[in-house]
Symmetry: C3
Subunit: 270 residues, 3 copies
């Protein structure tokens, strides 16, 4: 038996929700261009226009996909303004969406971007300007349908990224996904997402922690970073995305601590 | 490499929600009949038994799919009564679901139906009566699983529409999706859907508006139809589905105006 | 044209919700191992850690899928403890998930398990212990990604179930899904799920009822089991999953009776 030729996977991460036809329409546009596309939803429940949360969800998901996957992200408060539409090819995947910092944490994680937003040579970014790879009529409100879905589908179909438009050397970094280390060694981060189970996930990666780190969140000392759940109490641990999170076994850290997206988190070695 | 033979896309639009197994079951039924089917969800969050909203979502989505796509729509307050199950082939796609007006706006948009519900020759409708293309046991509560999913899958598998059952010349138009023009030229429509971002979408298409149309909604004058967002104020514009909508940049028209599905909208040339 | 080689379907049933990237990540893991996998969501909205509800949803869905389908179920309050991860091959499908009773009602329905949890020869269970068929690093919190998704994908790719780990003769039955018959012939069951439309579904199968059964639920007599909706009143009928349910035509049994998951249901012959 001859196995199928399977084009790259296309993932979708948006703040469109699942009530409307928006996501289905993007899939129709993709399949009309590349009929064999395999499309995977990451999440469409990003808090509307919350770029940091969209970044976190993509950051936690992309490492589990093949490196030739095309990840479309549409959290785009600036749609219809002058912000550029981009495609960025990296060793860890190709990312298609607005130039508003949404993909910056992924580039940082891969070491592909400087503090000034300048890309290293192993990343290739282009502005999605060529009309041939957009829908014929581009609206001012729905670039997910008119620009990003077609670009992803054409890439999946075999179009080279350079054909989509002119090169970009610098990308917008945005402000999300950044943690800092104070002169006293204390790490300052924040809650970027609260998951379905009430776990509060910070932007502090495991590699920033020392073996004896103690964690504070929501104005309360949580305690040392533990390896597994020990009790039903509130604990700090490294979650499945490699990030420090505040969690309660069989309970909700959101409810027990009143944590919200944007709240401060600190970690320090005693 | 030999590319795959890809059968037509099947889309699903229902009021089944995503909590239950209903949608997954329909997909199982489809894939058991046509293992290579590509299935796309449009929405399963139609307000229960709200035919007008289901119509709107399908109307806004179907033009972005290839013309051989099979669209299954199940918003079916009359399931288990004598309303007929239909398949309707049109130049813009094939539609499978109950004969309750759900597909009428799509047929109107394509100019395929008269005011009496009589179909033009370029549309072919059949009643899904042949037992061979239903599940062996048909329940009185879940025709999505027992009649509509199998019919769509058999069509995707290559069965001709005429094989599914006897021809129907007339379809139910329902009352949804209709706007009217008064003797003074004023257009009277209504809100048919409020999207995830709080935009309130009417049933008045762009082509019904004049260049200087002014809009009222929720008992308030919104102002002229604008091309893009200018301010953070409430505006009337033509949305991505080609319909007049009431919108607030970075805000919610639903919240600011208290708009609900069914509210009146007027447009008039000053 | 040469048709595609299509590997078995993989279904997913979890309590992960749709806000997070968890489900998307599982799909990435699956597609990285078996690029042609066809993945179908049953539901990700199981009440967190409610094994009985997860069981019901899978029980109502699996009969509609081909018998070579691989069903992944992750409702797993014991993740990170000593409960075993399993794959169970049955004539009605292969089931992959935790050994916590989630699949017990499906084995009971197929007559494959004794009251002591011992499997009959026509079911084959293995513990998912072979490292080669897990992700390289297994977390203590996300076996859906690290153990269950890879096992399902390897099975879809052609790995034999015996390769995944050592045989298990006995499985955990859990307490869900059980109804009983009293000495007076009265059947005692409970509500296991309330669907999107407000129908309250019990764990009492049609075959346990007699033609003249009368039903009580929520401390109220509902009346005899009817074949179809007659009025807009509350009725007891056999729903699309073959289970007794309490339902209101064009209304919500949840709202009218205040029924909740876990409430008692009785059926008796007058």
């Amino acid at each position: 038996v001859i196995p199928c030729l399977v084009p790259p996977i296309i993932t979708l991460t948006t703040d469109f929700g699942l009530t409307d036809a928006y996501v289905g329409v993007m899939k129709g546009v993709i399949l009309a261009i590349e009929p064999s596309a395999r499309i995977v939803d990451i999440s469409h429940q990003v808090t509307p226009q919350n770029i940091a949360e969209g970044s976190f969800l993509l950051l936690s998901a992309y490492p589990y996909f093949p490196a030739d996957t095309i990840h479309v992200g549409v959290v785009d408060p600036g749609v219809g303004t002058s912000r550029a539409p981009l495609a960025i090819a990296t060793p860890g995947g190709t990312f298609v969406g607005p130039d508003n910092g949404l993909f910056a944490p992924i580039l940082v994680r891969q070491g592909l971007v400087g503090g000034d937003g300048r890309l290293l040579p192993s990343a290739t970014a282009v502005e999605l300007r060529d009309q041939a790879f957009r829908l014929p009529r581009v609206s001012s409100t729905f670039h997910g349908r008119d620009i990003f879905a077609p670009a992803a589908a054409h890439l999946a179909h075999g179009v080279q990224i350079e054909e989509l438009g002119p090169r970009r050397e610098i990308i917008e970094l945005g402000s999300q996904g950044k943690y800092s280390r104070g002169p006293d060694g204390m790490i300052h981060g924040e809650i970027v997402h609260i998951d379905h189970f009430g776990n509060a996930i910070s932007n502090i990666p495991a590699e920033a922690l020392s073996p004896d780190s103690t964690v504070c969140a929501g104005g309360r000392e949580i305690g040392p970073v533990v390896q597994t759940y020990q009790t039903n109490d509130v604990v700090a641990l490294v979650g499945s995305a490699g990030l420090l999170e505040i969690s309660v076994r069989n309970g909700s850290a959101r409810e027990q601590l009143g944590l919200r997206v944007g709240d401060q988190v600190q970690a320090f070695a005693r």
